[in-house]
Protein backbone atom coordinates (compact mmCIF):
# COMPACT_ATOMS: atom_id res chain seq x y z
CA UNK A 1 0.00 0.00 0.00
CA UNK A 2 1.59 3.27 -1.19
CA UNK A 3 0.15 6.66 -0.30
CA UNK A 4 1.07 10.03 -1.77
CA UNK A 5 0.21 13.10 0.31
CA UNK A 6 0.25 16.45 -1.53
CA UNK A 7 1.65 19.20 0.67
CA UNK A 8 1.41 22.90 -0.12
CA UNK A 9 2.91 25.82 1.76
CA UNK A 10 0.66 28.70 2.81
CA UNK A 11 0.97 31.80 4.97
CA UNK A 12 0.01 31.29 8.61
CA UNK A 13 -3.73 31.82 9.22
CA UNK A 14 -3.04 35.05 11.13
CA UNK A 15 -0.66 36.48 8.49
CA UNK A 16 -1.20 40.07 7.41
CA UNK A 17 -2.36 40.00 3.80
CA UNK A 18 -0.61 42.63 1.63
CA UNK A 19 0.86 42.79 -1.85
CA UNK A 20 4.00 44.28 -3.40
CA UNK A 21 5.60 45.02 -6.80
CA UNK A 22 2.55 46.85 -8.14
CA UNK A 23 0.24 44.36 -6.46
CA UNK A 24 1.58 41.51 -8.57
CA UNK A 25 3.10 39.54 -5.66
CA UNK A 26 2.12 38.51 -2.16
CA UNK A 27 4.16 40.54 0.34
CA UNK A 28 5.76 37.87 2.50
CA UNK A 29 7.76 40.21 4.75
CA UNK A 30 7.51 38.83 8.28
CA UNK A 31 5.12 36.09 7.19
CA UNK A 32 5.40 32.70 8.79
CA UNK A 33 4.87 29.80 6.37
CA UNK A 34 2.97 26.73 7.43
CA UNK A 35 1.75 23.48 5.87
CA UNK A 36 -1.68 24.21 4.42
CA UNK A 37 -3.94 23.17 7.36
CA UNK A 38 -6.09 20.82 5.25
CA UNK A 39 -2.97 19.03 3.99
CA UNK A 40 -1.46 18.72 7.45
CA UNK A 41 -4.24 18.06 9.93
CA UNK A 42 -6.45 16.03 7.70
CA UNK A 43 -4.62 14.43 4.76
CA UNK A 44 -1.19 13.82 6.30
CA UNK A 45 -2.32 12.90 9.81
CA UNK A 46 -4.91 10.46 8.43
CA UNK A 47 -2.20 8.85 6.27
CA UNK A 48 0.00 8.51 9.37
CA UNK A 49 -2.86 6.88 11.26
CA UNK A 50 -3.28 4.35 8.44
CA UNK A 51 0.43 3.55 8.68
CA UNK A 52 0.22 3.16 12.45
CA UNK A 53 -2.48 0.54 11.93
CA UNK A 54 -0.60 -1.19 9.14
CA UNK A 55 3.19 -0.67 9.24
CA UNK A 56 3.56 -1.96 5.67
CA UNK A 57 1.99 1.30 4.44
CA UNK A 58 4.50 3.58 2.70
CA UNK A 59 3.89 7.34 2.72
CA UNK A 60 5.49 9.67 0.19
CA UNK A 61 5.08 13.44 0.34
CA UNK A 62 5.20 15.78 -2.61
CA UNK A 63 5.24 19.54 -2.97
CA UNK A 64 5.54 21.72 -6.03
CA UNK A 65 7.44 24.86 -5.12
CA UNK A 66 10.75 26.68 -4.77
CA UNK A 67 13.54 26.05 -2.22
CA UNK A 68 11.59 28.12 0.36
CA UNK A 69 9.22 25.11 0.66
CA UNK A 70 11.95 22.93 2.17
CA UNK A 71 11.37 23.91 5.84
CA UNK A 72 7.66 23.22 5.41
CA UNK A 73 8.19 19.82 3.80
CA UNK A 74 10.73 18.95 6.55
CA UNK A 75 8.10 19.78 9.12
CA UNK A 76 5.69 17.46 7.33
CA UNK A 77 8.36 14.73 7.42
CA UNK A 78 8.74 15.35 11.17
CA UNK A 79 5.07 14.52 11.60
CA UNK A 80 5.45 11.33 9.59
CA UNK A 81 5.97 10.01 6.08
CA UNK A 82 8.91 8.09 4.70
CA UNK A 83 10.30 10.37 2.02
CA UNK A 84 9.51 13.56 0.15
CA UNK A 85 9.88 15.01 -3.31
CA UNK A 86 9.91 18.67 -4.20
CA UNK A 87 9.26 19.59 -7.80
CA UNK A 88 11.28 22.74 -8.27
CA UNK A 89 8.68 25.02 -9.85
CA UNK A 90 7.01 28.20 -8.63
CA UNK A 91 4.20 28.04 -11.19
CA UNK A 92 0.84 28.91 -9.54
CA UNK A 93 -1.44 27.43 -12.24
CA UNK A 94 -3.43 24.52 -10.75
CA UNK A 95 -3.21 22.48 -13.95
CA UNK A 96 0.55 22.82 -13.99
CA UNK A 97 0.83 21.76 -10.34
CA UNK A 98 -1.50 18.80 -10.91
CA UNK A 99 0.49 17.78 -14.01
CA UNK A 100 3.80 17.82 -12.09
CA UNK A 101 2.32 15.65 -9.34
CA UNK A 102 0.65 13.27 -11.79
CA UNK A 103 3.85 12.80 -13.80
CA UNK A 104 5.52 11.42 -10.67
CA UNK A 105 2.44 9.55 -9.45
CA UNK A 106 2.21 7.71 -12.79
CA UNK A 107 5.70 6.28 -12.28
CA UNK A 108 5.16 5.39 -8.64
CA UNK A 109 1.68 3.85 -9.08
CA UNK A 110 0.23 5.00 -5.75
CA UNK A 111 -2.81 3.24 -4.34
CA UNK A 112 -4.03 6.42 -2.72
CA UNK A 113 -3.37 10.10 -3.43
CA UNK A 114 -4.45 12.49 -0.67
CA UNK A 115 -4.82 16.27 -0.99
CA UNK A 116 -6.34 18.99 1.16
CA UNK A 117 -9.77 20.31 0.18
CA UNK A 118 -8.18 23.58 -0.90
CA UNK A 119 -5.23 25.83 -0.14
CA UNK A 120 -6.03 28.71 2.20
CA UNK A 121 -4.23 31.23 -0.01
CA UNK A 122 -5.57 30.62 -3.53
CA UNK A 123 -8.69 28.68 -2.51
CA UNK A 124 -8.85 26.86 -5.84
CA UNK A 125 -10.05 23.44 -4.72
CA UNK A 126 -8.79 22.20 -8.09
CA UNK A 127 -5.52 20.29 -7.82
CA UNK A 128 -6.97 17.03 -6.41
CA UNK A 129 -9.67 16.75 -9.06
CA UNK A 130 -7.19 17.52 -11.82
CA UNK A 131 -4.76 14.84 -10.57
CA UNK A 132 -7.61 12.30 -10.56
CA UNK A 133 -8.46 13.07 -14.18
CA UNK A 134 -4.81 12.92 -15.25
CA UNK A 135 -4.37 9.55 -13.49
CA UNK A 136 -7.85 8.35 -14.50
CA UNK A 137 -8.57 7.49 -10.85
CA UNK A 138 -11.94 7.95 -9.12
CA UNK A 139 -12.13 11.20 -7.14
CA UNK A 140 -13.85 11.60 -3.78
CA UNK A 141 -13.76 15.23 -2.70
CA UNK A 142 -14.33 17.02 0.62
CA UNK A 143 -13.94 13.86 2.69
CA UNK A 144 -14.61 14.04 6.43
CA UNK A 145 -13.93 10.35 7.22
CA UNK A 146 -11.78 7.73 5.58
CA UNK A 147 -11.51 4.05 6.41
CA UNK A 148 -9.81 1.27 4.57
CA UNK A 149 -10.54 -2.42 4.52
CA UNK A 150 -8.38 -4.35 2.09
CA UNK A 151 -8.73 -2.69 -1.29
CA UNK A 152 -11.97 -0.89 -0.45
CA UNK A 153 -12.18 2.60 1.02
CA UNK A 154 -15.27 3.73 2.90
CA UNK A 155 -15.46 7.50 2.79
CA UNK A 156 -17.85 10.08 4.19
CA UNK A 157 -17.92 13.28 2.17
CA UNK A 158 -19.67 16.61 2.26
CA UNK A 159 -22.38 17.14 -0.35
CA UNK A 160 -24.72 20.13 -0.79
CA UNK A 161 -26.72 20.36 2.43
CA UNK A 162 -25.45 17.20 4.10
CA UNK A 163 -23.10 14.27 3.75
CA UNK A 164 -22.97 10.87 2.13
CA UNK A 165 -21.05 7.67 2.68
CA UNK A 166 -19.51 5.99 -0.35
CA UNK A 167 -17.48 2.90 -1.10
CA UNK A 168 -14.69 2.97 -3.68
CA UNK A 169 -11.99 0.54 -4.68
CA UNK A 170 -8.36 1.65 -4.70
CA UNK A 171 -6.62 3.34 -6.41
CA UNK A 172 -8.23 6.72 -5.90
CA UNK A 173 -7.71 10.40 -5.14
CA UNK A 174 -9.32 11.88 -2.03
CA UNK A 175 -9.45 15.53 -0.92
CA UNK A 176 -9.60 15.93 2.84
CA UNK A 177 -11.18 18.32 5.29
CA UNK A 178 -12.19 18.61 8.91
CA UNK A 179 -13.21 15.38 10.62
CA UNK A 180 -10.58 13.10 9.05
CA UNK A 181 -8.13 13.25 11.94
CA UNK A 182 -7.07 15.33 14.91
CA UNK A 183 -4.25 17.85 14.81
CA UNK A 184 -0.85 16.59 16.01
CA UNK A 185 2.36 18.27 17.03
CA UNK A 186 5.64 16.76 15.81
CA UNK A 187 7.66 15.18 18.65
CA UNK A 188 11.42 15.35 19.18
CA UNK A 189 12.04 11.93 17.68
CA UNK A 190 10.07 12.91 14.60
CA UNK A 191 12.02 16.14 14.23
CA UNK A 192 15.36 14.36 14.56
CA UNK A 193 14.46 11.59 12.12
CA UNK A 194 13.08 14.09 9.58
CA UNK A 195 16.61 15.42 9.10
CA UNK A 196 17.76 12.12 7.68
CA UNK A 197 14.67 11.24 5.65
CA UNK A 198 15.22 11.61 1.89
CA UNK A 199 14.04 14.89 0.33
CA UNK A 200 14.52 14.61 -3.40
CA UNK A 201 14.42 17.71 -5.58
CA UNK A 202 13.41 17.18 -9.21
CA UNK A 203 13.02 19.60 -12.09
CA UNK A 204 9.52 20.17 -13.50
CA UNK A 205 8.32 18.72 -16.78
CA UNK A 206 7.29 21.28 -19.40
CA UNK A 207 3.56 22.03 -19.15
CA UNK A 208 1.76 24.95 -20.75
CA UNK A 209 -0.03 27.06 -18.13
CA UNK A 210 -3.79 27.41 -18.52
CA UNK A 211 -4.19 30.44 -16.24
CA UNK A 212 -2.00 33.28 -15.04
CA UNK A 213 -2.32 35.37 -11.87
CA UNK A 214 -1.93 38.99 -13.00
CA UNK A 215 -2.41 40.99 -9.83
CA UNK A 216 -4.13 41.21 -6.48
CA UNK A 217 -6.16 43.67 -4.48
CA UNK A 218 -7.96 44.18 -1.20
CA UNK A 219 -11.73 44.50 -0.93
CA UNK A 220 -12.91 48.00 0.00
CA UNK A 221 -12.63 48.58 3.75
CA UNK A 222 -15.81 48.69 5.83
CA UNK A 223 -17.07 52.17 6.62
CA UNK A 224 -16.95 51.42 10.35
CA UNK A 225 -19.45 49.97 12.75
CA UNK A 226 -22.67 51.77 13.65
CA UNK A 227 -23.33 51.04 17.29
CA UNK A 228 -26.84 50.90 18.69
CA UNK A 229 -27.58 50.98 22.43
CA UNK A 230 -28.52 47.65 24.01
CA UNK A 231 -31.84 49.06 25.23
CA UNK A 232 -32.77 50.26 21.74
CA UNK A 233 -32.98 47.02 19.78
CA UNK A 234 -35.85 48.44 17.70
CA UNK A 235 -33.40 50.93 16.19
CA UNK A 236 -31.14 48.11 15.01
CA UNK A 237 -34.12 46.43 13.35
CA UNK A 238 -35.08 49.73 11.70
CA UNK A 239 -31.54 50.17 10.32
CA UNK A 240 -31.45 46.62 8.97
CA UNK A 241 -34.84 47.07 7.39
CA UNK A 242 -34.61 50.62 6.02
CA UNK A 243 -30.91 51.36 5.60
CA UNK A 244 -29.21 48.04 4.87
CA UNK A 245 -32.44 46.58 3.42
CA UNK A 246 -31.45 43.05 4.42
CA UNK A 247 -34.58 42.12 6.38
Amino acid sequence: MKILVCISKTPDTTARIAFKDDNTKFDDAGVQWIINPYDEWYALVRAIELKEKDPSVVIHLITVGGPDCDPVIRKALALGGDQATRVNSTEADSFNIASQISAIAKEEKYDLVMTGKETIDFNSASVGGMISELLEYPYVSLATKFDLSGETATITREIEGGEEMVEVKLPLVVSCQKGMAEQRIPNMRGIMSARTKPLKVVEPTAVAATTQYLNFGMPPAKAGVKLVAADNVAELVRLLHEEAKVI
Binding site: T13, T14, I17, P37, D93, S94, F95, E118, D121, F122, N123, S124, S126, G129, M130, S132, E133, E136, Y139, S141, L142, T144, E158, I159, E160, G161, G162, E163, E164, M165, V166, E167, V168, K178, G179, A208, T210, T211, Q212, Y213, L214, N215, F216, G217, M218, P219, K222, V225, K226, L227, V228, A230, V233, A234, L236, V237, L240, A244, V246, I247
Partner: protein, 318 residues
Protein backbone atom coordinates in the same frame (compact mmCIF):
# COMPACT_ATOMS: atom_id res chain seq x y z
CA UNK B 1 -21.50 29.46 -26.83
CA UNK B 2 -21.68 29.84 -23.06
CA UNK B 3 -22.82 26.63 -21.33
CA UNK B 4 -24.14 26.83 -17.77
CA UNK B 5 -24.12 23.73 -15.59
CA UNK B 6 -27.39 23.42 -13.69
CA UNK B 7 -26.84 21.68 -10.38
CA UNK B 8 -29.64 19.82 -8.67
CA UNK B 9 -30.29 17.46 -5.83
CA UNK B 10 -33.37 15.35 -5.10
CA UNK B 11 -35.05 16.83 -8.17
CA UNK B 12 -34.60 20.43 -7.08
CA UNK B 13 -32.39 22.99 -8.82
CA UNK B 14 -29.96 24.71 -6.45
CA UNK B 15 -30.46 28.42 -5.89
CA UNK B 16 -26.83 29.11 -6.70
CA UNK B 17 -27.42 27.68 -10.18
CA UNK B 18 -29.80 30.56 -10.89
CA UNK B 19 -26.98 32.99 -10.15
CA UNK B 20 -24.77 30.98 -12.51
CA UNK B 21 -27.50 31.19 -15.18
CA UNK B 22 -27.75 34.98 -14.95
CA UNK B 23 -23.95 35.23 -14.95
CA UNK B 24 -23.73 33.04 -18.04
CA UNK B 25 -26.44 34.98 -19.86
CA UNK B 26 -24.71 38.31 -19.12
CA UNK B 27 -21.34 36.86 -20.16
CA UNK B 28 -22.85 35.68 -23.47
CA UNK B 29 -24.09 39.23 -24.09
CA UNK B 30 -20.59 40.61 -23.50
CA UNK B 31 -19.16 38.04 -25.91
CA UNK B 32 -21.94 38.40 -28.49
CA UNK B 33 -22.82 34.72 -28.34
CA UNK B 34 -25.65 32.54 -27.04
CA UNK B 35 -26.13 31.10 -23.55
CA UNK B 36 -27.52 27.61 -22.94
CA UNK B 37 -27.89 25.41 -19.88
CA UNK B 38 -27.12 21.77 -19.28
CA UNK B 39 -28.80 19.35 -16.89
CA UNK B 40 -27.08 16.04 -16.24
CA UNK B 41 -29.69 13.77 -14.70
CA UNK B 42 -33.36 14.32 -13.90
CA UNK B 43 -35.24 17.16 -12.22
CA UNK B 44 -38.86 17.58 -11.05
CA UNK B 45 -39.43 20.97 -12.64
CA UNK B 46 -39.99 21.56 -16.34
CA UNK B 47 -36.51 22.28 -17.77
CA UNK B 48 -38.07 24.64 -20.35
CA UNK B 49 -38.89 27.05 -17.52
CA UNK B 50 -35.19 27.78 -17.17
CA UNK B 51 -35.79 30.10 -20.12
CA UNK B 52 -36.98 32.53 -17.45
CA UNK B 53 -33.32 33.18 -16.73
CA UNK B 54 -32.63 34.12 -20.34
CA UNK B 55 -31.09 30.97 -21.80
CA UNK B 56 -32.14 29.88 -25.30
CA UNK B 57 -31.73 26.11 -24.95
CA UNK B 58 -31.48 23.67 -22.16
CA UNK B 59 -29.60 20.48 -22.93
CA UNK B 60 -30.41 17.44 -20.88
CA UNK B 61 -28.80 14.06 -20.52
CA UNK B 62 -31.89 12.45 -19.10
CA UNK B 63 -30.40 9.56 -17.13
CA UNK B 64 -31.03 9.14 -13.39
CA UNK B 65 -27.57 7.57 -12.99
CA UNK B 66 -26.26 11.13 -13.29
CA UNK B 67 -28.10 12.32 -10.18
CA UNK B 68 -25.25 10.95 -8.04
CA UNK B 69 -22.11 13.07 -7.98
CA UNK B 70 -19.35 10.90 -9.42
CA UNK B 71 -16.71 13.26 -10.74
CA UNK B 72 -15.37 10.87 -13.37
CA UNK B 73 -18.82 10.12 -14.82
CA UNK B 74 -20.17 13.67 -14.77
CA UNK B 75 -16.96 15.14 -16.18
CA UNK B 76 -17.06 12.66 -19.01
CA UNK B 77 -20.65 13.55 -19.91
CA UNK B 78 -20.33 17.33 -19.50
CA UNK B 79 -17.07 17.53 -21.42
CA UNK B 80 -18.60 15.56 -24.26
CA UNK B 81 -21.74 17.73 -24.32
CA UNK B 82 -19.57 20.85 -24.33
CA UNK B 83 -17.44 19.59 -27.19
CA UNK B 84 -20.29 18.36 -29.35
CA UNK B 85 -22.14 21.64 -28.98
CA UNK B 86 -19.07 23.83 -29.32
CA UNK B 87 -19.26 25.47 -25.88
CA UNK B 88 -16.26 27.74 -25.34
CA UNK B 89 -17.16 29.06 -21.88
CA UNK B 90 -18.57 26.80 -19.16
CA UNK B 91 -20.04 28.22 -15.98
CA UNK B 92 -20.45 26.41 -12.65
CA UNK B 93 -21.60 27.65 -9.29
CA UNK B 94 -18.67 27.06 -6.91
CA UNK B 95 -20.43 24.62 -4.57
CA UNK B 96 -19.49 21.10 -3.48
CA UNK B 97 -20.58 19.67 -6.85
CA UNK B 98 -18.46 22.09 -8.87
CA UNK B 99 -15.46 21.57 -6.59
CA UNK B 100 -15.77 17.88 -7.40
CA UNK B 101 -16.35 17.94 -11.15
CA UNK B 102 -15.12 21.26 -12.64
CA UNK B 103 -11.39 20.42 -12.28
CA UNK B 104 -11.92 17.13 -14.14
CA UNK B 105 -13.92 18.83 -16.89
CA UNK B 106 -11.12 21.40 -17.19
CA UNK B 107 -8.50 18.69 -17.76
CA UNK B 108 -10.69 16.84 -20.27
CA UNK B 109 -11.29 19.98 -22.30
CA UNK B 110 -7.80 21.40 -21.84
CA UNK B 111 -9.52 24.47 -20.41
CA UNK B 112 -8.23 27.02 -17.91
CA UNK B 113 -10.36 27.04 -14.75
CA UNK B 114 -10.93 29.96 -12.42
CA UNK B 115 -12.76 28.90 -9.29
CA UNK B 116 -14.33 31.26 -6.77
CA UNK B 117 -15.02 33.97 -9.36
CA UNK B 118 -16.84 37.04 -8.04
CA UNK B 119 -17.52 39.15 -11.14
CA UNK B 120 -17.92 39.04 -14.91
CA UNK B 121 -14.60 38.88 -16.78
CA UNK B 122 -12.74 41.88 -18.17
CA UNK B 123 -12.41 41.35 -21.91
CA UNK B 124 -10.40 44.35 -23.11
CA UNK B 125 -7.02 42.67 -22.69
CA UNK B 126 -7.67 38.95 -22.87
CA UNK B 127 -10.11 37.12 -20.61
CA UNK B 128 -9.48 38.20 -17.03
CA UNK B 129 -11.58 36.90 -14.16
CA UNK B 130 -11.68 38.34 -10.66
CA UNK B 131 -11.67 35.70 -7.94
CA UNK B 132 -11.61 35.61 -4.19
CA UNK B 133 -8.28 34.57 -2.58
CA UNK B 134 -6.87 34.32 0.96
CA UNK B 135 -10.25 33.08 2.16
CA UNK B 136 -12.03 36.28 1.15
CA UNK B 137 -9.42 38.64 2.59
CA UNK B 138 -8.26 39.65 -0.91
CA UNK B 139 -9.03 39.16 -4.59
CA UNK B 140 -6.93 38.26 -7.62
CA UNK B 141 -7.27 38.96 -11.33
CA UNK B 142 -6.57 35.78 -13.24
CA UNK B 143 -6.13 35.55 -16.98
CA UNK B 144 -7.40 32.42 -18.70
CA UNK B 145 -4.97 31.51 -21.45
CA UNK B 146 -6.81 28.65 -23.15
CA UNK B 147 -9.37 28.60 -25.93
CA UNK B 148 -12.01 26.91 -23.76
CA UNK B 149 -12.65 28.59 -20.41
CA UNK B 150 -14.29 27.43 -17.22
CA UNK B 151 -15.52 29.75 -14.48
CA UNK B 152 -16.82 28.54 -11.13
CA UNK B 153 -18.80 31.41 -9.62
CA UNK B 154 -18.82 31.98 -5.86
CA UNK B 155 -22.36 31.53 -4.48
CA UNK B 156 -24.04 34.79 -3.40
CA UNK B 157 -21.65 36.98 -5.33
CA UNK B 158 -23.90 37.60 -8.35
CA UNK B 159 -27.55 38.60 -8.75
CA UNK B 160 -30.26 36.65 -10.54
CA UNK B 161 -32.52 38.12 -13.19
CA UNK B 162 -35.76 36.37 -13.96
CA UNK B 163 -38.46 37.00 -16.53
CA UNK B 164 -41.59 34.95 -15.78
CA UNK B 165 -42.58 34.40 -19.41
CA UNK B 166 -39.29 32.98 -20.78
CA UNK B 167 -39.20 29.47 -22.25
CA UNK B 168 -36.11 27.54 -23.28
CA UNK B 169 -36.00 24.91 -25.99
CA UNK B 170 -35.35 21.50 -24.42
CA UNK B 171 -32.74 19.48 -26.32
CA UNK B 172 -32.19 15.88 -25.23
CA UNK B 173 -28.61 14.74 -25.69
CA UNK B 174 -27.85 11.15 -26.45
CA UNK B 175 -24.62 10.68 -24.55
CA UNK B 176 -23.70 7.27 -23.14
CA UNK B 177 -23.19 7.31 -19.36
CA UNK B 178 -20.12 5.37 -18.20
CA UNK B 179 -20.46 3.04 -15.20
CA UNK B 180 -19.67 4.59 -11.83
CA UNK B 181 -16.95 3.17 -9.59
CA UNK B 182 -18.33 4.98 -6.53
CA UNK B 183 -21.04 3.17 -4.62
CA UNK B 184 -23.25 5.39 -2.46
CA UNK B 185 -24.03 3.59 0.82
CA UNK B 186 -26.08 6.26 2.58
CA UNK B 187 -27.09 9.90 2.24
CA UNK B 188 -27.68 12.10 5.24
CA UNK B 189 -29.26 15.45 4.38
CA UNK B 190 -30.18 18.14 6.83
CA UNK B 191 -33.87 18.45 6.20
CA UNK B 192 -36.26 21.35 6.65
CA UNK B 193 -33.37 23.74 7.19
CA UNK B 194 -31.86 26.29 4.83
CA UNK B 195 -28.44 24.98 3.65
CA UNK B 196 -25.75 27.25 5.05
CA UNK B 197 -24.01 28.05 1.79
CA UNK B 198 -27.25 29.04 0.09
CA UNK B 199 -28.77 31.04 2.94
CA UNK B 200 -29.38 34.76 2.47
CA UNK B 201 -29.35 35.31 6.23
CA UNK B 202 -27.17 33.44 8.71
CA UNK B 203 -27.46 33.61 12.50
CA UNK B 204 -24.24 32.43 14.10
CA UNK B 205 -23.22 31.99 17.71
CA UNK B 206 -20.00 31.41 19.62
CA UNK B 207 -18.66 30.53 23.01
CA UNK B 208 -20.43 33.56 24.48
CA UNK B 209 -23.59 31.42 24.53
CA UNK B 210 -22.01 29.42 27.38
CA UNK B 211 -23.52 26.04 26.51
CA UNK B 212 -25.59 24.03 24.00
CA UNK B 213 -28.70 24.38 26.17
CA UNK B 214 -28.85 28.09 25.26
CA UNK B 215 -29.27 27.66 21.50
CA UNK B 216 -33.06 27.91 21.69
CA UNK B 217 -32.97 31.69 21.34
CA UNK B 218 -30.50 31.43 18.44
CA UNK B 219 -32.85 29.06 16.62
CA UNK B 220 -35.85 31.28 17.36
CA UNK B 221 -34.11 34.26 15.82
CA UNK B 222 -33.04 32.17 12.82
CA UNK B 223 -36.52 30.82 12.31
CA UNK B 224 -38.05 34.29 12.46
CA UNK B 225 -35.64 35.43 9.74
CA UNK B 226 -35.81 32.19 7.68
CA UNK B 227 -32.10 32.05 8.30
CA UNK B 228 -29.58 29.22 8.55
CA UNK B 229 -27.63 28.73 11.77
CA UNK B 230 -23.85 28.63 12.04
CA UNK B 231 -21.26 28.60 14.81
CA UNK B 232 -17.61 29.28 15.62
CA UNK B 233 -15.07 26.49 15.67
CA UNK B 234 -14.76 25.92 19.44
CA UNK B 235 -18.53 25.53 19.57
CA UNK B 236 -18.42 22.72 17.00
CA UNK B 237 -15.27 21.22 18.54
CA UNK B 238 -16.97 21.04 21.95
CA UNK B 239 -19.89 19.22 20.37
CA UNK B 240 -22.37 21.99 21.23
CA UNK B 241 -23.37 22.17 17.57
CA UNK B 242 -22.84 19.85 14.58
CA UNK B 243 -19.63 20.24 12.56
CA UNK B 244 -21.46 21.24 9.40
CA UNK B 245 -22.35 24.55 11.11
CA UNK B 246 -18.71 25.51 11.69
CA UNK B 247 -17.79 28.56 9.61
CA UNK B 248 -14.34 30.08 9.15
CA UNK B 249 -10.96 29.39 7.70
CA UNK B 250 -11.13 25.68 8.50
CA UNK B 251 -14.90 25.40 8.23
CA UNK B 252 -17.39 26.56 5.65
CA UNK B 253 -16.95 29.89 3.87
CA UNK B 254 -20.15 31.83 3.36
CA UNK B 255 -21.26 35.13 1.88
CA UNK B 256 -24.86 35.79 2.93
CA UNK B 257 -26.59 39.16 2.65
CA UNK B 258 -26.80 39.34 6.43
CA UNK B 259 -24.56 37.66 9.02
CA UNK B 260 -25.54 38.06 12.66
CA UNK B 261 -22.77 37.09 15.10
CA UNK B 262 -23.80 36.40 18.69
CA UNK B 263 -21.12 36.03 21.36
CA UNK B 264 -18.32 35.50 18.83
CA UNK B 265 -15.05 37.36 19.39
CA UNK B 266 -14.16 37.71 15.70
CA UNK B 267 -10.81 35.90 15.51
CA UNK B 268 -9.08 36.30 12.16
CA UNK B 269 -9.74 32.62 11.31
CA UNK B 270 -13.43 33.09 11.97
CA UNK B 271 -13.56 36.25 9.83
CA UNK B 272 -11.93 34.37 6.94
CA UNK B 273 -15.15 32.40 6.56
CA UNK B 274 -17.64 35.23 6.84
CA UNK B 275 -16.02 38.48 5.72
CA UNK B 276 -17.62 38.36 2.28
CA UNK B 277 -21.05 38.76 3.92
CA UNK B 278 -22.74 41.94 2.65
CA UNK B 279 -23.91 43.17 6.07
CA UNK B 280 -22.47 42.03 9.39
CA UNK B 281 -24.19 42.57 12.74
CA UNK B 282 -22.24 41.84 15.93
CA UNK B 283 -23.71 41.44 19.39
CA UNK B 284 -21.04 41.06 22.05
CA UNK B 285 -20.76 42.23 25.65
CA UNK B 286 -17.13 43.22 25.22
CA UNK B 287 -16.78 46.60 23.44
CA UNK B 288 -13.17 45.63 22.63
CA UNK B 289 -14.17 42.44 20.77
CA UNK B 290 -12.26 42.49 17.46
CA UNK B 291 -15.42 41.57 15.53
CA UNK B 292 -16.76 45.14 15.89
CA UNK B 293 -13.96 46.31 13.57
CA UNK B 294 -15.40 44.21 10.73
CA UNK B 295 -19.04 44.86 11.51
CA UNK B 296 -21.55 47.19 9.89
CA UNK B 297 -23.87 47.33 12.88
CA UNK B 298 -23.30 46.35 16.48
CA UNK B 299 -24.74 46.23 19.93
CA UNK B 300 -22.48 46.11 22.98
CA UNK B 301 -24.61 43.99 25.26
CA UNK B 302 -25.50 40.67 26.76
CA UNK B 303 -26.82 38.18 24.18
CA UNK B 304 -29.18 36.69 26.74
CA UNK B 305 -30.98 40.04 26.98
CA UNK B 306 -30.57 41.38 23.45
CA UNK B 307 -31.39 38.32 21.33
CA UNK B 308 -34.95 37.63 22.60
CA UNK B 309 -35.75 41.35 22.19
CA UNK B 310 -34.29 41.32 18.69
CA UNK B 311 -36.54 38.40 17.71
CA UNK B 312 -39.59 40.23 19.11
CA UNK B 313 -38.79 43.47 17.28
CA UNK B 314 -38.22 41.63 13.99
CA UNK B 315 -41.57 39.84 14.31
CA UNK B 316 -43.22 43.28 14.48
CA UNK B 317 -41.98 44.31 11.04
CA UNK B 318 -42.32 41.01 9.16
Amino acid sequence: MVLIYIDHSEGQIKKSSFEALTYGVELAKLLGTEANGIIAGTIDENPEDLGQYGIGKVFQVNNPELNAVDAAVLANVIARAAKENDAKEIIFSHNTTAKTIAPRVAVRLNAGLVSGATALPELTDGFIVKKSVFSGKAFANVKILTDTKIISLNPNSFHTTKNETGKAELVQLNIPVPASSIKVISVNKVRGEVPLTEAEIVVSAGRGLKGPENWGMVEDLAKTLHAATACSRPVADSGWRPHHEHVGQTGIQIAPDLYIALGISGAIQHLAGVNRSKTIVVINKDPEAPFFKSADYGIVGDVFEVVPKLTEEIKKIL
